[in-house]
C-alpha cells in the first residue's frame, strides 16, 4: 500500500519535472492552429524551419478554419490558419486580425465517372446544387439521379465553392462529409454523385468537370480564368513579432513557395497574376 503510494508520488513528481524540463529545453516555440487544408503546408514549412533554425519549434494543429480564427481572436495561439477570410466568418472581428496570404488553392467540381458530363456552366452548377435539376439526363448525361455530396457547413472548401457557384442562393440540404478524402471516396463509389475538391485531391477514380469549357488547372487559376479558388490565410492578432514574424516570412520565401508548395499541391502566392479581395473584386498584379 505504502509502496504504491510512494511510486505514484514519485511518478507524479517526475512527470512534473519532465514537463518543466521540456519547457526549459524547447527554447522558443509558437503554435499554429486551424484549417486542415493548410495544415500539411504549415507542417512541412515548420519542420524545415526547425531544421534551419535549431531550437525553434513550430507546433501545428488542425481543428478547422473556425477553430483557427476563434483561437487567434482569443489570443490563445500565435497563428490562426484559415481557408476563409476572417470577414466571412460569423463571430470574428476581422479588424483585430492581420491577414497573411500564403498560398492559393483551386477547387473543382467532381463527378462520378458514370455521369457522362464533362462540361457545365455556372448556371447549371447552381441548378444542381440548389436542387432544381435532379437527373443527369437534364444536362445531357446518363439517366442517373443526381446525388449531392457536401462538405460540412462552414468548411473552407464549401464556403469558397458556394460563394462562386451559388452566388448567395441557399444550397439544397444534402449529405455532408467531414473530410476531402471521404468525399472523393464517396463520389468515386456512388453513381450520379457530384461534389467539389481541391485540385490536389483529384485523381483517376473521379472526373473533374470543366466550367464554361475552362479546365481546372493551376495555370487557369493564376489568371483567374478559373474562378473557384481561395487564399490560404495565416492570421495573427495584431502585427506579428519575433518568431511568428520570422516564420511567416519563411513561409513566403522562395524556398517554401517554389519548392514545397507545388509538391504539396498548393499554388504559389508569388506566381498569381491577379489579386482578389474579400468581396471578389479582381485586380491585376504587376
Amino acid at each position: 500500500m505504502k509502496k504504491k503510494i510512494l511510486t505514484a508520488a514519485a511518478l507524479l513528481i517526475s512527470l512534473v519535472g519532465l514537463t518543466a524540463c521540456q519547457k526549459q529545453s524547447s527554447g522558443e516555440s509558437i503554435t499554429a492552429v486551424g484549417s486542415s487544408a493548410l495544415q500539411p503546408l504549415v507542417e512541412a514549412a515548420g519542420e524545415q524551419y526547425s531544421n534551419d533554425h535549431l531550437g525553434k519549434f513550430i507546433n501545428v494543429q488542425g481543428g478547422g478554419s473556425g477553430t483557427g480564427l476563434s483561437q487567434i481572436q482569443a489570443g490563445a495561439v500565435d497563428i490562426g490558419n484559415s481557408d476563409v477570410h476572417a470577414e466571412e466568418q460569423n463571430g470574428v472581428d476581422a479588424k483585430k486580425l492581420v491577414d497573411h496570404r500564403v498560398a492559393v488553392v483551386g477547387i473543382t467540381p467532381v463527378v462520378n465517372k458514370k455521369v457522362g458530363v464533362t462540361n457545365l456552366s455556372f448556371a447549371q452548377l447552381k441548378a444542381i446544387f440548389t436542387g432544381q435539376v435532379t437527373n443527369w439526363q437534364q444536362l445531357g448525361g446518363a439517366d442517373l439521379p443526381i446525388v449531392l455530396v457536401n462538405r460540412a457547413a462552414g468548411s473552407g472548401t464549401r464556403v469558397t465553392f458556394e460563394k462562386w457557384v451559388l452566388q448567395g442562393s441557399q444550397a439544397k440540404q444534402a449529405q455532408e462529409q467531414d473530410s476531402t478524402g471521404m468525399v472523393r471516396q464517396i463520389v468515386a463509389a456512388t453513381p450520379g454523385a457530384i461534389s467539389y475538391l481541391a485540385f490536389s485531391y483529384v485523381d483517376k477514380s473521379i472526373a473533374a468537370v470543366k466550367i464554361n469549357h475552362v479546365a481546372p488547372t493551376d495555370e487557369n487559376v493564376l489568371t483567374n480564368k478559373w474562378k473557384i479558388w481561395s487564399y490560404e490565410h495565416m492570421y495573427t492578432k495584431g502585427k506579428p513579432t519575433g518568431l511568428t514574424k520570422d516564420f511567416i516570412a519563411y513561409v513566403l520565401s522562395p524556398k517554401i513557395q517554389e519548392k514545397v508548395l507545388p509538391r504539396l499541391g498548393y499554388i504559389s502566392i508569388s506566381q498569381m497574376k491577379v489579386e482578389r479581395d474579400v468581396s471578389g473584386h479582381v485586380t491585376r498584379r504587376s
Partner: protein, 307 residues
C-alpha cells in the same frame, strides 16, 4: 510511563494508514464530483445561451425540421430546427437495440444455460474482444463494407439510418450480451432446480423461469446498450451521411445529434450562434444520457422489489 498504556493511547500505524486512505479516497470522489458538475455547468451555460442570448424559441428548436444555423428565416430568426437530428438519433438507437436484443439474449442463454463450458471458453472472450475494438475501426468497416452492401441492395448512396443501425448493432451487441449473461447468472440455482423437479423441460425452465426472473437485468442491459448507441459519434458519423434532413426512409442520408456536433464544432466560432446551437445539442445529449441512467436505476429498483 506504562508501555502498554502508551501503546493503547498512541495511534497505531494501521489507524494512520486508514485515515490516510479515507482522505485519499475522499479527495478522489470530490474531484470526480467537481468535474461532473463543471462539465454540466459548462455545457449548460453554453447550450442555454442559444435560448437566452440568441432568443431561439425552445419549442421551435425541438420541433422545426430545418437546420441551417447561419441562415435566418422569414421572421429573422435563425433556422435551427433540431428535429431531424433528434429523430435520427432515436431511430438508430431504437433500431439497433431492436436488432441486437434477440442476438444478445440468445447468446447469453447459450453461454449460461445451454453450454456454459464452451460458451465461457469461446463466446465470452469473443464478446470481450468486440468491446475493445475502437469505434473508428467499426466506422471504417461500416464505410467500406456495410455502405456498399446497402447501396448494392437498396440503391441510393448507401449512407443512412440502415447503415448506422448495422454498425451500432455490432457495437452494442457485446455490451448487451455480457450484461445479460451477468443477469442470467444471478438467477439462483434453486429456481432452475425447482422448475426441473416440477417436471418442466429445459426449454420451459429457460423460458418461463430463468428469463422471467432475469428480465429486469436484461432490460438494464438493453438500456445500457441504447445509451451507448445514442452517444456514439464517430462510427455513426462515418456511415449515416450527415444530411440534416428528416429521414424519409432507412437508406436516405440522415444525421444524429452526435454526428452534427463532430462535423460542426471545428468550423464555428466560440460564442457565435452557430457554436451555441451545437452546445444546445450537446446539452440535449447530456440530458438524454441522464434519462437513460434514471431509467436503469428505475428498472433496477423495480426488479429488486419483486424478489
Amino acid at each position: 510511563m506504562d508501555p502498554i498504556r502508551e501503546s493503547l493511547l498512541k495511534k497505531s500505524r494501521q489507524s494512520k494508514v486508514e485515515r490516510l486512505g479515507k482522505l485519499v479516497s475522499f479527495c478522489c470522489i470530490t474531484l470526480i464530483v467537481l468535474i461532473v458538475l463543471a462539465i454540466f455547468y459548462f455545457v449548460a451555460s453554453r447550450g442555454l445561451a442559444t435560448f437566452f442570448h440568441d432568443k431561439v424559441n425552445l419549442i421551435d428548436f425541438l420541433t422545426k425540421d430545418v437546420w441551417n444555423p447561419s441562415v435566418k428565416d422569414a421572421r429573422g430568426l435563425p433556422e435551427v430546427g433540431a428535429l431531424p437530428m433528434i429523430v435520427g438519433s432515436f431511430l438508430v438507437t431504437i433500431l439497433s437495440a431492436l436488432v441486437a436484443t434477440p442476438f444478445a439474449v440468445g447468446g447469453a442463454i447459450f453461454m449460461t444455460e445451454i453450454s456454459p463450458r464452451r460458451g465461457m471458453q469461446i463466446l465470452k472472450p469473443v464478446t470481450e474482444l468486440l468491446v475493445g475494438i475502437p469505434s473508428v475501426v467499426y466506422g471504417f468497416i461500416g464505410l467500406s463494407v456495410v455502405v456498399p452492401f446497402v447501396r448494392g441492395i437498396f440503391g441510393g448512396t448507401g449512407f443512412g439510418i440502415l447503415a448506422g443501425t448495422f454498425v451500432l448493432f455490432v457495437m452494442i451487441l457485446p455490451t448487451v450480451t455480457s450484461m445479460s449473461v451477468d443477469a442470467l447468472q444471478a438467477v439462483p440455482r434453486y429456481y432452475r432446480e425447482a422448475s426441473l423437479a416440477l417436471g418442466a423441460t429445459r426449454w420451459q425452465t429457460i423460458y418461463k423461469v430463468v428469463l422471467r426472473s432475469a428480465t429486469p437485468g436484461i432490460l438494464t442491459a438493453i438500456v445500457f446498450g441504447m445509451a451507448r448507441a445514442f452517444g456514439e459519434a464517430l462510427a455513426v458519423q462515418m456511415v449515416i451521411g450527415n444530411a440534416a434532413l428528416m429521414p424519409h426512409n432507412l437508406v436516405s442520408p440522415a444525421s444524429t445529434l452526435t454526428s452534427v456536433l463532430t462535423m460542426g464544432i471545428g468550423n464555428t466560432i466560440m460564442g457565435s450562434l452557430q457554436n451555441n446551437v451545437l452546445w444546445s445539442l450537446a446539452l440535449l445529449l447530456l440530458l438524454m444520457s441522464l434519462v437513460f441512467n434514471l431509467l436503469i436505476r428505475f428498472i433496477g429498483r423495480k426488479g429488486a422489489l419483486k424478489k
